[in-house]
Amino acid sequence: MCEMRNRRWVLAVFLLCIEFCLRIEAFKFHRTQQTERISGSAGDVLEDDPFGRLKVFVYELPSKYNKKILQKDPRCLNHMFAAEIYMHRFLLSSPVRTLNPEEADWFYTPVYTTCDLTPNGLPLPFKSPRMMRSAIQLISSNWPYWNRTEGADHFFITPHDFGACFHYLEEKAIERGILHLLQRATLVQTFGQRNHVCLKDDSIIIPPYAPPQKMQAHLIPPSTPRSIFVYFRGLFYDVGNDPEGGYYARGARASVWENFKDNPLFDISTEHPTTYYEDMQRAVFCLCPLGWAPWSPRLVEAVIFGCIPVIIADDIVLPFADAIPWEEIGVFVAEKDVPKLDTILTSIPIDEILKKQRLLANPSMKQAMLFPQPAQPRDAFHQILNGLARKLPHDKRVYLKSGDKFLNWTAGPVADLKPW
């Protein structure tokens, strides 16, 4: 009798365990499924409409965080980091915006961290961590929503070279790591490289900003025959910062130059022609190698102009990877395979090349890469909102119970703690 009861207990406990484990597995599976939907069909996911699926509350920060910075240097509107400014403007007048924070699913903090420009136009990230910290301190003291979840339902746009690591040197960026206060928030950034410190698992990767009107103005008739095989314009050696080569682009760009500089199929040089956009439309393949950071606006330009992007950047994570089937559109070449680039490109079956061109001609693909003003359906703004909507509903566990604290407000380099 005792054994029977024991066995029944054991069985019950066993069943409970299994159920528990299964639920955890299911939960885990669900989680991974959410972030790795890479081969989703382009059609329906790109066409998703975020309206009605989420509500965003925009914090009213004092203008020293956004407007004044922009007034000081209006060049921020045209460089490749301008997505943060245009996203702010889009959200202010978008139907997903709500003025009632209680019903908001996501909270947006408009702080322009990439607008401190050198005379040459490149952003300095030295003050950005302090700016971000100061903004977070402001919102956590004036509104209760940050402390409610310690930022888990907040998102920030950090379009700088290495995202929220706020440094342009990769070694330094890795050393700094992602700003500690942002570790529970969702980051919308351009940088993406697998297994990298500066990429959080649940970040949304966006394309860098490319001026849509300028590109539209340079369109040529699509019947113009594509007569250039491979096209690239840009630096191969960064003589100012890395004269020996080998650091810049991990030597990949230098390798392209050394192997193919006398090859008639490769139209590559360091010039800045005025017909750059037109030339891209007359090329079959456009090289998009890494530079100091793995991402570059060339990808956007290639997609817009129908030139098949040849991506030479190991482990890169491309924008909207769960909506755009990059494997089917572009060609991925490992950095160590660059000397064989001509063999690789000419051995792609012609049907595949034609298929890629047809996919690229799809207007929804081009729309998803652009930040047009005013916003249009299915453009990059909407893809960001789609990405945010796909993360909903928030897991119950992000809402902290009283007394729980995850964030250490004094973590990070000492210099970051200074007020801004």
Binding site: T118, E171, E175, P225, N241, D262, S347, I350, V414, A415
Partner: protein, 501 residues
């Protein structure tokens, strides 16, 4: 501090800055953390001094590798390249990375394959890919249902026939649409022309036309018109369906022309650029008064254009023609004359017709076209296809209303009595070369209208000399009559030298 960073950033060309500034960065951050950074500062200063002395950037990596004991978070490594060209790439130690990415930060080798030059097999493959891509583009964005192009070319056997006809032939061979080439030859069908055009691989109708080509330009223009009408009659007899265009043998055609003429309904007109050849006259640049829609807006001379003139709503209102008034005195009279060859008011080449105009049933044909048999009879001089129409306002202007020029007219001919080897083949090679100084120089113009053959011809001399091994001279000897005087002297001296050696 701001100044320091600003100064540093002067060097930034791209997203990031070189490693050299990292020790300075730590000072920027305001905290000198450890003796290691002081050590790095000292090394950096030392390297700067050495670089100043030596004149190039002395890599601190040398020091790093000599004195490396301290660990830095990023490790420099170079995996073995196939071939290195850098004098300073120094192999480092391979790191052990656990959860980190496979991609290592730091200096990498520049991979170069053993023979970094184009491989002809790859180049061929790439060209095939490009061809296929362009074919796809054409079917996608180009002309949807292309009609056959019927090209009518009047020609006759003369020195420059090979030159001109080859040009037209190659243009027609590159046309992507179906093509029928009607070659009308004055003086009947000859083997010379037939052997030339057979090489094209096109569908050809080679018809003869009775009557020798006259020597005067005016008569030649008239005969050519008759030959073209004869070609049109062939089209009618054979009921060829397509678009008729006139490809004169010395004209230059752009391939866009053949795509543009697919848009014609019944009869269309394109703009023709007139390259009236100045023929070595001393007047220098050609001062032209021509169409306002010329493509080349040069200060001194504009290329005159013949073609349709449109108003702002792109309707045909008139014609731009060539103003021959200023040149009548100086114009060439006979073929080979060293003067400007003038085109007629409107050249045939600027018009395209739907072939159905010629043979379609009267019911389906528009009312404004005359029968082809009526035209050109009783010695009527048909100057342009407009004579085929009763009402000239129905002509459709093509090429964005004549603004785009896809066709150029030029007449360059050697003298009618100039001789050339049959089919431009010298077989067997000439054994005897005759020194030219005994040859009387034919400065006298040929007798008109008949051309006499007894005069010794300079071109013959040229070809003979070419047979002797003066290959480098070939480039300089030109067939144009006006240059042969100078060239011949050099030839004479050269043969003298070769004779002496």
């Amino acid at each position: 501090m701001k100044q320091l960073t600003a100064l540093q950033q002067q060097n930034r060309r791209s997203n990031s800055f070189r490693n050299g500034s990292s020790p300075l960065d730590s000072t920027v951050d305001g905290a000198i953390k450890s003796p290691a950074t002081i050590f790095w500062l000292v090394i950096h200063g030392l390297c700067c001094l050495i670089s100043l002395v030596l004149g190039f950037r002395f890599s601190r990596l040398v020091f790093f590798l000599f004195f490396s004991t301290s660990s830095s978070p990023s490790t420099t490594t170079i995996y073995s390249p196939i071939q290195e060209t850098l004098p300073f790439s120094i192999p480092g130690r391979v790191p052990v990375e656990r959860n980190m990415s496979r991609v290592v930060v730091g200096r990498h080798g520049i991979l170069i394959r053993p023979w970094p030059h184009p491989d002809p097999v790859e180049v061929m493959k790439a060209h095939k890919i490009i061809e296929r891509v362009q074919m796809e583009q054409r079917s996608e964005y180009g002309v949807k249902s292309p009609r056959t192009v019927i090209a009518i070319t009047p020609t006759y056997v003369r020195t420059f026939q090979t030159l001109h006809l080859t040009g037209v032939m190659h243009s027609l061979m590159n046309v992507h649409h179906d093509l029928v080439w009607i070659v009308v030859e004055a003086g009947g069908v000859t083997n010379e022309t037939a052997s030339l055009i057979r090489k094209s691989g096109l569908r050809i109708l080679h018809v003869g036309f009775d009557g020798k080509m006259p020597v005067l330009w005016e008569d030649r223009h008239k005969l050519e018109s008759k030959m073209r009408l004869h070609g049109l009659r062939v089209v009618k007899e054979q009921r060829l369906d397509g678009i008729v265009m006139f490809a004169d043998d010395s004209n230059m055609h752009s391939l866009e022309l053949f795509d543009e003429i697919q848009n014609v309904r019944w009869i269309g007109a394109v703009s023709v650029g007139i390259l009236a050849h100045s023929g070595g006259s001393e007047d220098g640049e050609l001062q032209m008064v021509g169409g306002e829609d010329s493509e080349k807006e040069e200060k001194k001379s504009q290329v005159p254009v013949q073609g349709p003139a449109c108003n702002s709503s792109n309707h045909l209102v008139g014609w731009h023609t060539f103003n021959t008034q200023p040149f009548l005195e100086r114009s060439a009279r006979y073929i080979g004359d060293r003067a400007i060859v003038l085109p007629r008011k409107l050249e045939w080449a600027g018009f395209v017709l739907n072939s159905r105009l010629l043979w379609e049933e009267r019911l389906n044909r528009p009312v404004w076209v005359r029968e082809i048999e009526e035209v050109g009879t009783d010695g009527e001089d048909v100057e342009s296809p407009l004579s085929l129409l009763k009402d000239t306002s129905v002509v459709e202007p093509l090429g964005s209303c004549g603004r785009k020029i896809m066709l150029w007219w030029l007449r360059v001919e050697a003298r009618a009595d100039s001789k050339f080897p049959a089919r431009w083949i010298i077989d067997p090679p000439l054994d005897i070369t005759v020194p030219a100084k005994r040859t009387p120089w034919p400065d006298a113009p040929p007798e008109l209208p008949s051309s006499s053959v007894e005069k010794v011809i300079i071109t013959q001399e040229n070809t003979e000399k070419r047979a002797t091994k003066n290959t480098p001279r070939k480039k300089r000897s030109s067939r144009k009559r006006k240059h042969t005087t100078k060239v011949l002297d050099e030839h004479i001296t050269s043969t003298k030298h070769s004779g002496d050696n």
